[in-house]
């Protein structure tokens, strides 16, 4: 048995002991390791097929009935395998070793990189829909979203664009540059992202002061938003401070967007940017 033990790990790579489902067949058992993808699966109406999720996949409410297999970065391979999935959806953040292990066991693993902008969100959504054969439903939702986005762009396009600084991280100060959907949220609602052309996401408070934006939006992901607001208010020279335009927003709305939640977020940003108008 000792020899068996020594040789067996190799066998798994050659095909394994688990019966492989046909690729392309209707995916019945999905493990999603990304809150975005979990939400999107429910949007597409295949929530019932989701058998495993991360701790952070909490939208919509029905997810609490689904087994938790880990958090965003650390996942329990054993737990996933015991759920007998035929498709596992991962993101770049997921432990690469776990991804490799699942693949070596013959399980289909599909990776979804973080969406760079609105178009990326839609493309990703379509790709997911293709895997669960819900292309029509996806296309409809995307159509609706695009129409709403166009409407907002048109409405706000004519107005004077306010300069906006969007803060997603404190200590160090982190913002979002061109090529992220945050950037799109601002541009589509008629604003100008002061950090649009920056090379790196790390920003300095001095630069913000130099550019003197009209509005500062704080999306508190893992830091104290109120504290940051108070820090900014310590610079009374800033336009945003004088006009009382330092806004805290609910990070839930803004992180991990689906096409649908992107539109909601966009509507929210529109209101912030053009409150007085």
């Amino acid at each position: 048995m000792v020899l068996q033990v020594f040789c067996l790990p190799l066998k798994a790579e050659e095909g394994g002991q688990t019966p492989l489902p046909q690729k392309g067949a209707l995916s019945q058992r999905i493990v999603s390791l990304s809150p975005v993808l979990t939400e999107e699966l429910f949007l597409l109406g295949v929530g019932d097929s989701v058998v495993g999720r991360t701790r952070y996949c909490t939208k919509p409410a029905e997810t609490d009935k689904i087994e938790v297999v880990g958090n965003l970065t650390e996942i329990n391979v054993e737990k996933i395998v015991s759920l007998r999935p035929d498709l596992v959806l991962v993101i770049p953040l997921t432990d690469p070793r776990a991804k490799q292990k699942l693949r070596s066991l013959g399980i289909r693993v599909e990776e979804f990189p973080e969406a760079a902008d609105f178009r990326g969100i839609c493309d990703s959504f379509l790709r997911l829909a293709g895997m669960v054969h819900k292309e029509k439903a996806a296309a409809d939702l995307i159509e609706k979203a695009k129409r709403e986005v166009s409407r907002i762009r048109q409405e706000t396009g004519s107005r004077q664009p306010p300069a906006v600084f969007i803060e997603v991280g404190a200590d160090p100060l982190v913002t979002m540059v061109k090529g992220s959907y945050f950037h799109d949220l601002i541009e589509f609602s008629g604003g100008v992202n002061i950090a649009a052309e920056a090379v790196h996401q790390l920003y300095s408070r001095e630069k913000v002061l130099a550019k003197d934006p009209d509005i500062i939006i704080i999306v508190s992901m893992g830091f104290d938003g109120e504290e940051e607001k108070r820090i900014w208010q310590g610079y009374p020279g800033l336009k945003a401070v004088r006009q009382g335009k330092i806004i805290l927003v609910d990070s839930d709305l803004f992180c991990a967007p689906t096409p649908v939640s992107f539109v909601h977020a966009l509507q929210g940003v529109e209101k912030i940017l053009h409150a007085e108008n």
Partner: protein, 338 residues
């Protein structure tokens, strides 16, 4: 003659006890996990070849992890015994020499420059490369006129550790979010290696080096008296130091390259086993190897079940368990007024 027989019996007893510990830890590791497979079923899968998804879990997930844990635990403990024997310092452990720091920098650079996309073996390879660079540095800086200075090795090692930590911080600061995760994962240490080749390499290397070290058992026993005394006893001290240094470095390099940083095992296990079986390296080498393997497998099993389905990094458990054990042993020593 009677005394020798008594001692041989004592040694055989200990080897049996430790072998049982290894089997016990293995049984524990194979039967416990978030998939919740009942023990009876585990037994049937192992010995009667029962099929099903649980079979995959036992053979493809738990077994490789168990084997790697045994290999790494054994390797690190063995390295610890050799180092503590050479340096005659009970606080020396595999990470004191800075070799793990070098491996960590190697892996971090690999992740920073995205080299791991080339292939799955580049990560452990860059770790091993980093380890080798440090080994060469340690050797080069401390070989003077054909004498390898042990004190110098220790000091250089500590310095390299500091420099490595700073370099890693620098790399972390320059990295993008995804890279950060990768680097931190690796540093925290994990027995979750999916590549079977690496697992077998680690296992083979550990056992091979254990056998190799046994050729030095009498040298290590003599070195316990000091380098000069050992020379008086006819031990070729310089040659022995060089070879043992090489063996230890390779043991550490391979362990760290494959599993990341798992601390305390190399410090606590040799220390503890010395108290249990004595200083004679003829029993200490094998005893520490087995004990280290069992200990790490046990810690790893705890790490993946304590807050299931979330997994703790195995280094956390070895740190807490190992650290507490160490303090306990120290307190007992002080109490006995040694």
């Amino acid at each position: 003659m009677q005394k020798i027989k008594k001692r041989s019996l004592k040694w055989i007893f200990w080897l049996l006890v430790l072998a049982a510990a290894v089997l016990g830890a293995a049984a524990f590791a194979l039967s416990v996990g978030s998939a919740g497979i009942p023990f009876g079923k585990v037994f049937r899968i192992l010995f009667e070849g029962q099929k099903g998804i649980e079979r995959s879990i036992i053979w493809d997930i738990r077994m490789p992890r168990l084997l790697l844990g045994f290999a790494i635990g054994g390797a690190l403990s063995l390295a610890g015994v050799i180092l503590q024997g050479m340096f005659r310092n009970p606080l020396v452990e595999p990470y004191t020499l800075g070799i793990s720091g070098g491996a960590a920098v190697g892996v971090s650079l690999n992740i920073l420059f995205g080299l791991h996309r080339i292939g799955v073996l580049t990560m452990p390879f860059s770790g091993f490369l980093g380890a080798c660079l440090v080994i060469l540095l340690l050797y080069g800086l401390n070989m003077k006129r054909r004498v390898l200075s042990l004190q110098g090795l220790l000091l250089t090692g500590v310095m390299i550790n500091f420099i490595a930590s700073s370099l890693i911080m620098l790399i972390l600061a320059l990295s993008r979010r995804e890279s950060l995760q990768g680097i931190i994962f690796w540093i925290m240490g994990s027995l979750d290696e999916p590549n079977a080749f690496l697992t077998r390499l680690a296992l083979g290397a550990s056992v091979l080096f254990l056998v190799a070290t046994y050729f030095f058992h009498s040298d290590l026993n003599a070195l316990a008296l000091g380098e000069e005394e050992a020379l008086h006893l006819g031990v070729p001290v310089e040659r022995t130091k060089r070879l043992l240094f090489l063996i230890t470095s390779l043991l550490i390099g391979v362990s760290v390259a494959v599993s990341g940083m798992i601390g305390f095992v190399g410090l606590v296990v040799p220390h503890f086993m010395k108290k249990m079986v004595g200083c004679d390296h003829r029993i200490l080498l094998a005893a520490s190897f087995l004990a280290g393997g069992a200990f790490l497998v046990f810690c790893d099993t705890l790490a993946r079940t304590v807050i299931a389905p979330m997994e703790l990094p195995v280094g956390v458990i070895t740190g807490i368990l190992g650290g507490s054990l160490f303090v306990f042993v120290l307190m007992r020593d002080n109490g006995e007024g040694r």
